[in-house]
Symmetry: C2
């Protein structure tokens, strides 16, 4: 019973416990350290973090309303399963949001946005160089979230962020099976996207976002399921 993961600390500030538990559990779920379907025990978490069940419970409620854990009434809380049946729907939404956010970024970006986006791209490039799949997935999501932020639409950004989160779990499964190698083409496409946003070329941004999204769908879709995203043509 020697758990190497000793997270409890002696002194904590008043409202910080929930956020810490929430953030940590969220990361562990999205990185598949907590596999889908695995049980989540409140008292176990309470003792692990050295606090009462109340703040643990609050963190779990938050995760639940984001769909990351599922809770059967009066019985068993578990990490939410990945719904592979809904993957075509997921990819449809993902591609559309790639397009919309990239497009809006080209419209509304300011000078300071470009520096932030480039910083995320540097991190992504580094993760690709290091062949660190977890880091690749996380930094890729951060890159596109940054672009969405430059688009200045919090509704799209929120929805897109949620999609990217869900995607982290699916992508993790995908890249595990491909030996943590990711085509360097993604790095180049990111560069093209940045260039289009910089020169405020809305049409190119839209097109690149679409191609980039369909690229990923194509690779994963070939592996897991057929998709119908290509049929949707908003013209």
């Amino acid at each position: 019973m020697s758990d190497p993961d000793q997270n409890q600390v002696g002194e904590r500030k008043r409202g910080s416990g929930v956020k810490m538990v929430y953030d940590l559990l969220r990361d562990e779920i999205l990185d598949l350290k907590l596999p889908p379907g695995s049980a989540v025990d409140e008292v176990q978490l309470a003792s692990r973090f050295g606090m009462s069940r109340t703040p643990i419970r609050e963190a779990l409620v938050r995760l639940s309303s984001e769909g990351l854990i599922e809770t059967l009434p009066n019985r068993s809380t578990m990490v939410a399963n990945i719904d592979f049946l809904n993957m075509p729907s997921y990819f449809d939404a993902l591609v559309l949001m790639y397009r919309v956010t990239t497009r809006l970024a080209a419209q509304h970006r300011r000078a300071e946005d470009l520096a932030l986006i480039r910083a995320r791209q540097v991190e992504f490039s580094a993760a690709v160089g290091a062949q660190d799949a977890l880091a690749m997935i996380a930094t890729n999501a951060a890159f596109h979230s940054q672009i969405a932020a430059a688009g200045r639409n919090s509704y799209y950004a929120g929805f897109f962020g949620r999609l990217l989160n869900d995607g982290r779990r699916m992508l993790r499964l995908y890249y595990q099976s491909y030996e943590d190698r990711l085509p360097s083409r993604f790095v180049e496409e990111h560069e093209e996207i940045i260039a289009a946003i910089e020169r405020k070329d809305v049409g190119a941004a839209d097109h690149l976002g679409r191609v980039h999204g369909e690229q990923i769908v194509e690779q994963i879709g070939r592996l897991l399921t057929r998709h119908e995203a290509a049929e949707i043509d908003l013209s």
Copy 2:
């Protein structure tokens, strides 16, 4: 101190308290019975519903993670304000989702979907006839949610549902100022949308969804703020 709204009941089933409080508070917030910015007191709610603070707290956490209430750490919880600065962003997203959900409904609808959609339209039409603004807003949202359900994409449906909820509060403000009258044109447009979905005319569905959305944006936007939704042309 004679509160006419006595909600506490003697016997409740084990897990039902949170859901009841959540549903009721949610409705009261969306119908502006609890005005934006008004304080939300836990112990007051606890005594009102005749239960402890714990389930109240859980309901509030849920509402908080949906953005319906805002909570300052250690101090004051309040009903979330309506962010009028973000309304252009909101309308952009709303119009796009009108298009996408109507379009997908035309693609994927089954026979049984049409009956459900028509049922919502009957309710909407009745609300318009009765000049009941609250009911109009709610049934209109239900109508479009039903269409989104027929589109068979839970990601879009979830996001759209959230947008429609946020819209309920804004629309309420709008219709108050227009004496609870709503153009009967909306009823006719709904009929056209149903017809397009029935004959699986994807292009018409997309177009009608767009026109219908921009219609609403136009009316409200003229009253409250200028919008830039029309600039986005996904062609």
